[in-house]
């Protein structure tokens, strides 16, 4: 089952965020920390280790933030940086898992399950996610900010306002980017021709 909940105090993510602000570069140690924390949180929620929680599907990133960062020490700009990193890490985690899942499926020829929800089999989701990730990389080549908007909102679960905060743009810009990116991605994924 691998890594379990680690109770040692988290390294000082707050300090890293503050330094980042000063230096302009993301500290190298920050990403793995955020990655691990998000992964750990997701697992713990999925295992329902905390029956009292009130986590929304979109709240992982926020929860990680509250756990890792001392709010009293940082400015909102630091938080924007954190959200940016966290969304990126969420994307990485999900895509890693999707890829692992997809390759596993190819390896073992298993019998198809006749479940009610056959249409919701994980492999379809995995494939969808990987395709989306690829398309998003394409989009980034043409229009970096639009790909970031999708990363922050879809993978990071951030609201329009938070996304605007991270990117330093007006919320209306995020709305517009989102509409364009969504249409573009939908077209690229060939969904437009489905059925």
């Amino acid at each position: 089952m691998g890594d379990d909940v680690n109770d040692s105090p988290p390294p000082d993510v707050t300090q890293m965020l503050i330094e980042w602000n000063d230096s302009g570069n993301a500290p190298a140690r920050l990403m793995p920390l955020v990655y691990d924390e998000l992964r750990r949180l997701a697992r713990s929620y999925l295992r329902r280790e905390r029956p009292d929680h009130t986590l929304q599907p979109t709240a992982l990133v926020h929860e990680a933030y509250l756990r890792l960062v001392d709010q009293s020490r940082i400015k909102w700009q630091n938080r924007a940086h954190f959200f940016g990193i966290a969304a990126q890490m969420m994307r990485r985690i999900l895509i890693d898992h999707a890829r692992a899942h997809a390759s596993e499926k190819r390896g073992g020829a298993r019998q198809r399950l006749s479940l009610d929800e056959a249409a919701f089999l994980p492999e379809e989701r995995a494939a969808d996610l990987i395709a989306l990730d690829d398309a998003l990389k394409q989009l980034a080549l043409t229009d970096k900010r639009k790909s970031q908007v999708v990363e922050l909102r879809f993978f990071g679960g951030l609201s329009v306002n938070e996304t605007a905060e991270v990117l330093g743009v007006h919320p209306a810009t995020v709305d517009r980017d989102w509409i364009v990116a969504k249409a573009w991605l939908y077209r690229e994924l060939g969904k437009g021709e489905a059925d």
């Binding site: 089952m1 697992r43 929304q56 992982l60 999707a98 517009r176 509409i179």
Partner: protein, 935 residues
């Protein structure tokens, strides 16, 4: 999956920008004008046109695509990974090994079936030969055993209370030796209701009769507060003797995340993946919390299928987001129309595709296509579509009401369900095309905005009301109300649509009040412009009381009279009239609907508590007036004092009126925080009244809120304040006042994220309070987000030009940013509202001081000083102005004075940007320490 790229050539930046621009511009046009517009924009640039057109095409289909965040979408992937087992065995419960094994006291015989949650086995009690067979559901790996078992124990008592001949019993539950949770249920041998009806060629009438039995079983569970959450034909079995049996009641909840019914990752995952999506309600698809009306929705889908042979939705693909989109956005076609369709469906136990034609469907109903169509159109279409409404509040309020309509239809009596009134469609239209606001909507807004209650009549007959409550509401304290469509009294009559819209907004507002069950507009809209006897209608609709009224239009004034009648004795319970100015059409947030809801909530609250020593009539009246004044108070100082006077009068009439004490306490804290009174005058009084309220009612959330405010604003006892807020929110988790006040406290403590959370909640709970939105701007300022402060307060000021606080925040934020001209303008706008008060003088002082306009700064200082001889002026205002003027010593002197006088501002110095330039000074650090605000 291939990417199916439609364009391999990546457009260069310039071209891409052009594509985007034309795409957005085209989207903003009405669909029918788009082609022409594109011709104009693209000229003969074929590739531009192709790009834009393919994006438009994609846009028109993309609706919910990627709108569900990836975490919810893909949590399955996590789950498999975390079990560290091959994905294909996700359902694996070591199936072969469990046969012939014992689970608890039961011997497993064979597998009955399996699905997303796990495997169901047939078993027999191992120690008693004559015991009936049972079904044991063994939950698959990956679900947390302890949690499910714990939840099962919590639910067990409730589920065991479900003793109904049409509901399969739940016997036991626990964990297997392997640690897998299991649930033991009554074993039912039967056929899914859809298959059963088709197989026996039941007619529409027979189907409806059978369905009524199903409905009453669901009603039984709902009375025990149990929501099924997963109603579908395979959970509604018909035994060989024709008895319906509902399976798995409450199981979805046990297997879901938590008893609190919150939408969580796991919750969403469970619902979304394991529950059959075809029968899931929009709120279920979205992972929101579920109520009895979600079951009504699912029942509606089942009935749709029973009647028409089709399902209401056809997703074009099986991707989850596609399904979510269809369920959340598509309007289903009428069942009577659906019977005409020919389609291929996979359904039933076999899952094999079957072709459904009008002939097959009508044959299974022992009739012909034409007859079936006629049979379904009208009443039955309406009944089903009311269940399938996207907004749960607009479905039948209860399964009883649903069943009653079917009964009325079978008895050939008029039913309650009606087609959506045109105004609903108008509502959707606005959502989709925000830019285009129809003229009629503006008039609706007129009715709902800028309306001021003028005269209040209140004839509260306690005895009558309580006896009614005893007879008419057997299920507890919920009062049922029907709101009848407003009549038109003027010479220039108002459109029916507008009046229905008005009525509907009152219904919607009332639905949010806990102790009121309000009949949906659909049940009363047929009385529009009919001559009716309110009492007869009330009895027909089986409500405790009826709210009826009229709208009168004189020139550009509207007058709305409302009265509520008690059905049992025909007495008038409550009456009030509101007038509003049509010229204020699009301004203001306070709608008459929320006023009415608020007034009634207070009223009914009291009605339901009549067993306790209840305040007398005059106390009630004074209290209501006070409440009204308090709501309006942020605009006008006179209103605060009016509120105070009313509450004090209420207390004179009834010295044990806990709510009046609590509200009086809140009136004093408000007066103190807004500088209407000095803190030393206001807070000790507030404390006295809050404590008295708590003596009378220790569970008064408002009194705890008031106490929390006193602890933070005046006693500077942060821990005690936090604790009181938590207590208040525990007692009243949906109190907008408490959430708002707590968010303010959290912001001053620098806990911005929590603050934003509570502030959002307060706004959601009571969107009519413009001040909640205004204070959000202050929070942004505390957080040093000045652009956001400006954006937010500008937005508030646009919504309500009288929002005084918004101008103050706007002015200070502009001053800090160096936009003195705008800052002064905002200050003048604030002054125009109050006629010149210390805060608006102060904000202009900030602008002058930062602009180095010494003459004007000094004039403001002098004016504030002279003002302070007649009324309370917070010394902290001068702290700020001297700080900005560069006179730190004077600033610190005055800060000591502010400290001594308990200035409200002192509680915000940890975060407030106006004292930023003092922070590096040792005297400031000392002050923070003195106030326990240092880290």
């Amino acid at each position: 999956m291939s990417n199916g790229k439609s364009s391999n050539v990546k457009p260069d930046n310039e071209k891409w920008n052009k594509i985007e621009e034309v795409f957005i511009l085209t989207l903003e046009r009405e669909p029918e004008t788009r082609d022409g517009f594109l011709d104009l924009q693209c000229g003969d640039d074929e590739s531009l046109r192709f790009e834009v057109q393919s994006l438009l095409e994609a846009h028109s289909h993309a609706n919910s695509f990627i709108e569900v965040p990836a975490v919810a979408f893909a949590s399955e992937l996590f789950l498999n990974e975390l079990n560290n087992q091959p994905a294909g065995e996700a359902t694996g419960t070591d199936a072969p090994s469990i046969i012939n094994q014992r689970i608890g006291n039961y011997q497993v015989e064979r597998e009955l079936g399996h699905g997303g949650m796990g495997v169901v086995y047939l078993a027999r009690r191992a120690d008693e030969q004559y015991e009936n067979s049972v079904a044991i559901k063994v939950v698959r790996r990956g679900m947390d055993t302890d949690d499910i078992v714990r939840r099962f124990r919590n639910e067990r008592q409730i589920l065991a209370g479900l003793n109904h001949p049409n509901i399969a019993r739940l016997y036991d539950g626990g964990a297997t030796a392997d640690g897998l949770p299991y649930i033991v249920m009554e074993y039912v041998e039967g056929t899914p209701v859809t298959d059963y009806c088709d197989r026996h060629r039941l007619t529409t009438t027979e189907r409806l009769q059978l369905f009524r039995t199903i409905i009453s079983a669901v009603g039984h569970a709902h009375q025990h507060s149990i929501v099924h959450r997963d109603l579908k034909p395979s959970n509604i079995l018909i035994t060989s003797d024709g008895t319906p049996k509902l399976l798995d009641f409450g199981i979805a909840k046990v297997l879901s995340t938590d008893a609190a019914d919150d939408a969580t990752i796991e919750h969403t995952r469970t619902e979304f993946r394991a529950l059959t999506p075809d029968y899931a309600s929009p709120e279920q698809v979205r992972g929101e919390s579920l109520t009895t009306t979600s079951d009504i929705y699912s029942l509606g889908v089942v009935l749709y299928e029973l009647l028409s042979g089709h399902r209401p939705y056809r997703a074009t693909s099986h991707a989850p987001h596609e399904l979510a989109r269809v369920i959340c956005e598509h309007e289903p076609v009428k069942p009577s129309t659906a019977v005409n369709h020919t389609e291929v469906l996979t359904r039933g136990e076999t899952k094999s595709p079957t072709t459904i034609t009008p002939e097959i469907v009508s044959h299974a109903r022992d009739t012909q296509p034409d007859k079936l169509r006629r049979n379904l159109s009208g009443d039955l279409d309406n009944i089903v579509l009311v269940c399938l409404r996207k907004e749960s509040a607009r479905r039948y309020p209860s399964v009883e009401a649903f069943g009653e309509d079917i009964r009325l239809h079978l008895a050939e009596l008029p039913i309650v369900a009606r087609k959506d009134a045109p105004v609903y469609r108008t509502g959707k239209f606005i959502k989709r095309h925000r830019a285009a606001i129809a003229a009629s909507v503006i008039v609706i807004a007129a009715l709902c905005s800028g309306i001021i209650a003028t005269n209040l009549y209140f004839n509260f007959n306690r005895n009558a009301a309580s006896s009614t409550a005893a007879t008419a509401t057997p299920s507890g304290n919920v009062r049922t109300i029907a709101v009848l469509p407003l009549k038109s009294l003027s010479d220039a009559p108002l459109d029916q649509e507008l009046r229905v819209g008005m009525t509907d907004s009152i219904v919607t507002k009332l639905s949010a009040v806990k102790q009121i069950a309000v009949r949906p507009t659909s049940s009363t809209v047929r009385y529009l412009d009919q001559n009716y006897d309110a009492l007869a209608v009330g009895r027909l609709l089986q409500v405790d009381s009826v709210l009826e009224g009229s709208v009168q239009r004189e020139a550009n004034r509207l007058k709305i009279n409302l009265q509520m009648v008690n059905i049992a004795d025909g007495k008038l319970i409550w009456a009030e009239s509101f007038t509003g100015d049509l010229s204020n059409v699009l301004r203001g947030q306070e709608s008459v609907a929320s006023r009415v809801a608020q007034m009634l909530a207070v009223n009914l609250d009291t009605m339901n508590n009549t067993t306790q020593s209840s305040p007398n009539l005059r106390a009630q009246e004074a209290f209501l007036k006070g409440n009204f004044a308090l709501t309006a108070s942020a605009r006008n100082i006179a209103d605060i004092f009016a509120a105070r006077d009313f509450f004090e009068r209420a207390i004179r009439f009834d010295p044990d009126f806990a709510q009046a004490y609590a509200n009086l306490a809140l009136t004093y804290t408000l007066a103190g925080s807004l500088n209407y009174l000095s803190p030393i005058e206001s807070y000790p009084k507030a404390e006295k009244y809050a404590r008295r309220a708590l003596e009378l009612d220790p569970d008064s959330a408002l009194a705890h809120t008031a106490l929390a405010e006193i602890e933070s604003d005046y006693n500077w006892n942060w821990g005690a304040s936090d604790a009181s807020y938590r207590r208040a929110l525990e007692l009243a988790p949906n109190s907008a006042v408490a959430h708002h006040s707590y968010s303010e406290f959290l912001a001053r403590m620098g806990r911005f994220d929590e603050s934003a959370y509570h502030s959002d909640l307060a706004h959601q709970l009571d969107p009519t309070r413009i001040n909640y939105e205004a204070v959000r701007a202050l929070h942004y300022m505390y957080e040093h987000r000045f652009d956001d402060t400006i954006r937010q307060s500008t937005m508030v000021a646009e919504k309500d030009p009288n929002a005084y606080l918004a101008y103050l925040y706007l002015s200070v934020a502009h001053a800090i940013k160096g936009n003195y001209k705008e800052g002064l303008k905002a200050g003048e706008q604030a002054a125009a509202i109050t006629g010149g008060a210390s805060p608006d003088l102060f904000v202009r002082g900030c602008n002058y001081a930062l602009a180095n306009d010494t003459a004007n700064t000094d004039a403001v200082i002098a004016k504030l000083q002279s003002m302070s001889r007649q009324q309370y002026v917070d010394p902290f205002l001068l702290v700020v102005i001297y700080t900005y003027r560069g006179d730190k010593d004077r600033a610190f002197q005055l800060m000591e004075k502010s400290y001594a006088e308990k200035s409200y501002w002192m509680s915000s110095i940890k975060v407030h940007p106006v004292v930023d330039s003092l922070r590096s000074d040792a005297r400031f650090t000392a002050m923070l320490q003195k106030m326990n605000l240092h880290n």
